[in-house]
């Protein structure tokens, strides 16, 4: 196991990067603690796979250093780094049995046969693959194949970290639950450092203790799932996390009231005070689940028109038009749904204020 340190890493696929825009990865400086479960979350092209390849050694960064437990690894190839990786599509040695697949990394490292058998059986037990050890790997189902890929990492006692590159892409929804749960159990059991790359916020948030959100080559926020949800540091995080994403409204400040095209929304005093000092374009953000949708007029509520009601089973998504802007609200199964007119309550402690896309409070 190891602590992984990224020391001012930056990477460009060009030979002579000139401007900031030439970099696929813009200066990242971070330390992954030993035994943590991390997720790298972002849309395609945000640089998350580049970063993963730098950690695994498939790519040497243009700038900066990679250290494992203080030892420099930047130039070392993957096989010398003690990391394991599970890919998007199952990578197996088709001609081998499940047992031989699991034994492969150990045999390559000349581990004695007895030890190989012991380790493989141990890992097969954890992954519930024991009954299939004699089968050809090529004939297994997609989720079993991913477990075998993972197993090839787990058999090695020296593994510093296991990297996952969107490992659940080819798995059916109901099996995703089982596999993700297995992963978490393994993490609790073996205390491995796990780094999980995905574009799927649900996967990232449920899997990781700390999620790192990436956007256009930059790490825009690192935090626990709650932090990302409650206090997105950047508008992008607010939009990207949560389904639907955060609602944003252009606003101006008038004392401790935010003016949105005529409508007034009362802010907490502190929020208003910080907003008054901030420079740049002001925007108010609120999560769809915190919007209070009322069927009758109440004190401080803002009138809105219902545009669309979608029944999502466990909850409903209501699309509303308020003061020329479109808002979406998430309503529990048992809550009353307004028909045409609705009044929206904005709970003060749930309102976030952004200036030039960065969170003020």
């Amino acid at each position: 196991m190891a602590r992984i340190e990224l020391n001012n890493i930056a990477h460009s696929y060009l030979h002579n990067p000139k401007s900031e825009a030439d970099y696929a990865l813009k200066r990242i400086h971070y330390e992954w603690e030993d035994g943590g479960a991390y997720a790298l979350l972002g849309p395609s092209g945000c640089g998350k796979t580049t970063l993963l390849n730098i950690i695994s050694g498939l790519l040497i960064p243009s700038e900066g250093k990679v250290l494992f437990d203080g030892r420099e690894m930047t130039q070392l190839p993957p096989e010398k780094r003690n990391i394991a990786q599970v890919f998007q599509f199952p990578v197996l040695y088709d001609t081998m049995s499940v047992f031989d697949n699991l034994a492969f990394p150990l045999r390559n490292r000349r581990v004695p046969a007895k030890e190989v058998t012991r380790r493989v059986q141990e890992v097969a037990e954890i992954l519930e693959l024991t009954p299939f050890l004699k089968y050809k790997a090529a004939g297994m189902t997609a989720d079993a194949k991913q477990k075998i890929s993972l197993g090839r990492g787990l058999v090695r006692s020296d593994v510093a970290a296991i990297l996952f590159d969107e490992p659940l892409t080819v798995i059916d929804p109901h099996l995703k639950w089982l596999l993700r749960r297995k992963l978490k159990e393994i993490h609790d059991q073996l205390k491995l450092t796990l780094i999980y790359v995905t574009h799927d916020q649900v996967e990232a948030m449920t899997f990781a203790e700390k999620v790192m959100v990436m956007y256009e080559g930059e790490l825009v926020q690192i935090g626990t799932p709650q932090e990302l949800f409650e206090t997105p540091q950047h508008k992008f995080v607010g939009y990207f996390i949560g389904s639907p994403g955060m609602n944003f409204l252009n606003c101006t400040l008038d004392g401790n009231v935010a003016r949105v095209d005529g409508a007034g929304i009362r802010l907490a005093d502190e929020t208003a005070a910080l907003g008054a000092k901030a420079k740049g374009k002001l925007e108010l953000g609120i999560r769809p689940m915190y919007l209070e949708v009322q069927t009758r007029k109440t004190e401080g509520a803002v009138p809105a028109q219902v545009r669309l009601v979608e029944d999502q089973g466990a909850y409903k998504i209501i699309t509303l038009e308020m003061a020329g802007a479109i808002l979406r609200a998430k309503l529990g199964e048992d809550k009353p749904v307004p028909e045409k007119e609705a009044w929206l309550g904005f709970p003060r402690e749930k309102i976030r204020l952004f200036a030039d896309e960065r969170l003020i409070r």
Binding site: A84, F87, V91, Y93, T95, M96, D100, Y135, K136
Partner: protein, 290 residues
């Protein structure tokens, strides 16, 4: 009742059927006809049953030619397949050199077969040939028209030069289709280059290599034009392969009956071995459990 959309398609493939029928099936039937009858002239023939087959199978010169032919095809497969795979592995995977390599490799395949024979006659002539005279200058006596060994070496060299590129192209196509993730995973698993070859590249090339083996076996077993031009089957009978001997019987001695019987046996041998190779290669690394 199968009322399905592609009825029209049958009309489109009909010309091909007709051509195949005239060019392959009818001649084959004629050959069968010749092999069981002794024909003296138009309308004059005697049914001889398996007589010609017995005669041909007892022919010791045919036995020799058959043995020679097997040795030749075996050598071809043993040299060209590994060599082709080796060259494919050594080729660059991307960049400008890829097309340069591919074009160079394809050149021998574009030359007419009898021209290949002519090229190698000149190339290996002891007096003026680049290869022949160079070897002789080195003090080794080399003359494919005089020494059976030299003739074999020359024919093999020519064959390898001519056809290995085909194996390379097929193997290269197979290698290119392997996703990068396999190589990355193997690196991480600490696999040696040999292990990568044995457990990733070779299994993934199985399909194309099956085709390569079949093509090379059939082609080499049927070889005619190049050695005929180069050595004429000599010296002596040293390079008289099956097809050269067959032509000698059919056209040289005009023994059409035995020649026809010979052709059928020839055809059946190729069919049998192609089947064996196909089955063998399909079953490599297959089966439910190891």
């Amino acid at each position: 009742m199968e009322k399905w959309a592609s009825n029209k398609a049958w009309f489109l493939v009909l010309p091909v059927f007709v051509i195949v029928a005239f060019s392959a099936i009818l001649p084959l039937m004629t050959v069968v006809n010749y092999s069981v009858q002794d024909i003296f002239g138009p309308g004059q023939s005697v049914f001889v049953g398996t007589e010609f087959f017995k005669q041909v199978l007892a022919d010791s010169r045919l036995h020799e030619a058959l043995l020679r032919q097997f040795l030749f095809s075996a050598l071809v497969l043993l040299i060209e397949i590994p060599l082709g795979v080796l060259i494919a592995l050594a080729m660059p995977r991307k960049g400008v050199w890829v097309s340069a390599c591919l074009v160079t490799l394809a050149l021998p395949l574009l030359i007419p077969w009898n021209v290949i024979g002519t090229i190698w006659i000149i190339f290996t002539r002891p007096d003026i040939g680049l290869l022949g005279s160079t070897i002789n200058h080195l003090g080794l006596a080399f003359d494919h028209t005089a020494s059976p060994m030299d003739a074999w070496v020359t024919v093999m060299l020519m064959e390898v030069w001519h056809w290995t590129p085909l194996v390379v192209l097929l193997a290269y196509a197979g290698l290119r289709s392997i996703p990068e993730a396999y190589y990355q995973a193997a690196k991480i698993d600490g696999a040696s280059s040999w292990a990568i070859f044995r457990y990733i590249q070779l299994p993934k090339m199985r399909g194309v290599l099956t085709i390569a083996v079949l093509l090379r076996f059939m082609d080499s077993f049927l070889i005619y034009a190049e050695p005929f031009v180069l050595t004429g089957g000599g010296p002596g009978n040293a390079t008289t392969f099956l097809s050269i001997y067959l032509v000698k019987i059919a056209l040289g001695q005009f023994d059409l009956g035995p020649a026809a019987a010979f052709s059928i046996i020839y055809f059946l041998i190729i069919l049998l071995f192609s089947f064996i190779f196909y089955q063998a290669l399909q079953n490599v690394g297959k089966g439910g459990r190891s």
